[in-house]
Amino acid sequence: LSSQQPEYLLVEFLSELNYQVNVKKKVCIAVESIRIKPGEGIYNLESVLLLRNINDETDILKQEIKAITYHNIEIKFHNNVYTVVLVFDI
């Protein structure tokens, strides 16, 4: 994935996971690697994820996430910790 701001990249990454759940019926169970590389005015993200199939019989999706929004999104860095508040449209 690539995007012009780290915040947008985060939204794209989570949107990808949401797409896997909603359409491919797969859920992410582990992140094997994730690398973010800043480029010329662009941020690139490469990740290897472990997914498993959602089992209609045993898995219950309690809440559909329609979309990951950009609402007031801002990644903050304080005391060596990154924080961000994300709003999901449900």
Binding site: S15, N22, L61, K66, T69, Y70, D89
Partner: protein
């Protein structure tokens, strides 16, 4: 008056103006009562969002808010903005994720008194037949991509050709159930994929099927024209374009966030990402949005057809005896190219209605002949415990709000707050005591959608009625609800 540091000047008892300031291109105008402002706007970001929308390039006259205004993404819910077709912008934030989320109401010949003993059975059968809830699918055969693309360009007409509706249904649907200029090539494969098995499904969240009885008639002549009578059983359907629409919005937000830099827009909120309507990006979004809108109209048409079959089977009644007929279908999340009188001349504008309903008067040529004396039906669902309204559009709406009105009650509690408020309570029984039978996939949705989470829709409708933007025609009372 001052709300959260925002100056609100009173125009009259139901209209308040935020003066043009800073980067605002126009003033903001909010239709509301003093009581509603005091009760609901003190801790809501919506007024700030009215100001943000006023920054959009090419916005005309005012950034408007209807009385059901509450916080949304980018635009407030209940926001209306018209932008100049030549030098204005189009913004997915002014439409929402659920493109052409809307409402339709179908009338029947049934009297509530005749069927009240069989309401639980009817609710159960509707719940069984109409796919609801997270990931709902399979209302009709799984579509192939050729079918789906046909729906994206032709909307409700696909349903009629495939036996899910009648020509009259199309006539009684806003835009006849189809926006022209929809190009499926502008819709991503992902969006297509999300839509393939979702035609005719209700989904989750605030979407519903609701059985209502016509409880009160305010305008006999208009009610008769709309086909309404006191004690009548009607069915209301509230849903939209499902995953396909969300994906279209998502896809184009990404495109338009890039356009912001390209066109050097300085907007106060990322969710207001936009592009000039005449630009490639703007035209592509408009075309994809039309596809999603057409999908949504078809969706509501298919659900209505399934519901009709359920009525016929549950009551063992003939189709003619049931007289299941579409009163009207309105969309309340949309951007449409319309003509409006601005500064003394007719101008083509892109009207964004985000949680707002079109409310055209009878002399508008886009309405079917039957509504020429009444204005278009304006459908305003309330909460699932109290009541909903049917009103009619007026020429005042054309003069003041680009032919727009409110779309519902508007939330006063977030889903989280509502869930908390419902803890430890037997909500199903509470509703039953109030005369409402409900079936849903989980108690969570019921708690999130309880009446206490919403404003009293009567307050909202009264603002529009007292201003003359719409005229009240009938009040409906719910007795059966199906939630996702």
């Amino acid at each position: 008056m001052n709300v959260q540091g925002i100056e609100l000047n009173k125009i009259h008892d139901y209209l308040w103006e935020i003066p043009k300031n800073g980067g605002m291109n126009v003033p903001g105008r909010i239709y509301s009562s003093r009581q509603m402002i005091d009760s609901y706007m003190q801790n809501d970001e919506a007024l700030k969002q009215v100001i943000n929308v006023a920054h959009l390039p090419g916005i005309q006259k005012y950034s408007l808010a209807m009385p059901d205004i509450h916080w949304g993404y980018g635009f407030p819910i209940g926001g209306v903005a018209a932008t100049d077709l030549n030098d204005g912008v189009i913004s997915p934030g002014g439409v929402g994720y659920d493109i052409n989320c809307g409402v339709r109401i179908a009338g029947t010949s049934l009297h509530f008194e005749e069927i009240k003993r069989r309401v639980p059975k009817l609710v159960e059968n509707l719940f069984r037949k109409v796919p609801t809830g997270v990931g709902a699918k399979g209302a009709i055969h799984k579509l192939n991509s050729k079918d789906l693309k046909n729906i994206l360009t032709r909307g409700s007409a696909w349903s009629v050709e495939n036996g899910f509706g009648t020509e009259k249904d199309i006539e009684h649907t806003e835009e006849k159930g189809r926006l022209a200029g929809a190009d499926p090539a502008k819709v991503s494969e992902r969006a297509i994929e999300r839509g393939l098995d979702q035609a005719g499904t209700l989904g989750s969240g605030n979407h519903f099927l609701e059985l209502d009885v016509v409880d009160e008639i305010f305008d006999d002549q208009k009610a008769e024209t709309f086909g309404l009578f006191k004690g009548q059983v009607v069915l209301m359907i509230h849903t939209g374009s499902r995953g396909l629409g969300y994906q279209v919005c998502d896809d184009y937000l990404k495109v338009l966030l890039k356009a912001e830099k390209k066109y050097d827009f300085k907007l106060p909120d990322k969710q207001l990402a936009c592009a000039p309507i005449q630009s490639q990006e703007g035209q592509d979004y408009l075309s994809a949005m039309k596809c999603a809108a057409n999908f949504a109209w078809n969706n509501r048409q298919v659900i209505m057809h399934i519901a009709k079959k359920v009525f016929i089977n549950t009551f063992n009644i003939s189709e003619a005896g049931l007289n299941f007929n579409l009163i009207y279908d309105v969309c309340h999340n949309i951007a449409k190219i319309e003509e409006h009188l601005i500064d003394g001349s007719i101008k083509k504008v892109c009207v964004h209605r985000k949680g707002a309903t079109r409310a055209f008067p009878g002399d508008n040529k886009s309405l079917p002949e039957i509504f020429r004396q009444t204005g278009q039906p304006v459908l305003i669902p309330g909460d699932m415990g109290r009541y909903s309204y049917i009103a009619a559009g007026t020429s005042r709406a054309m003069d003041e709000t680009f032919g727009s009105s409110c779309h519902g009650a508007g939330r006063v509690q977030s889903r989280h707050q509502a869930l908390k408020a419902g803890k430890g309570r037997d909500l199903v029984n509470e509703l039953r005591k109030g005369g409402v039978v409900i079936q849903a996939h989980g108690l969570r949705t019921i708690a999130e959608e309880m009446p206490y989470a919403y404003k009293d829709v009567s307050d909202v409708v009264d603002v529009m009625h007292n201003t003359g933007i719409t005229i009240k025609v009938a009040k409906l009372k719910p007795f059966g609800v199906i939630k996702g």
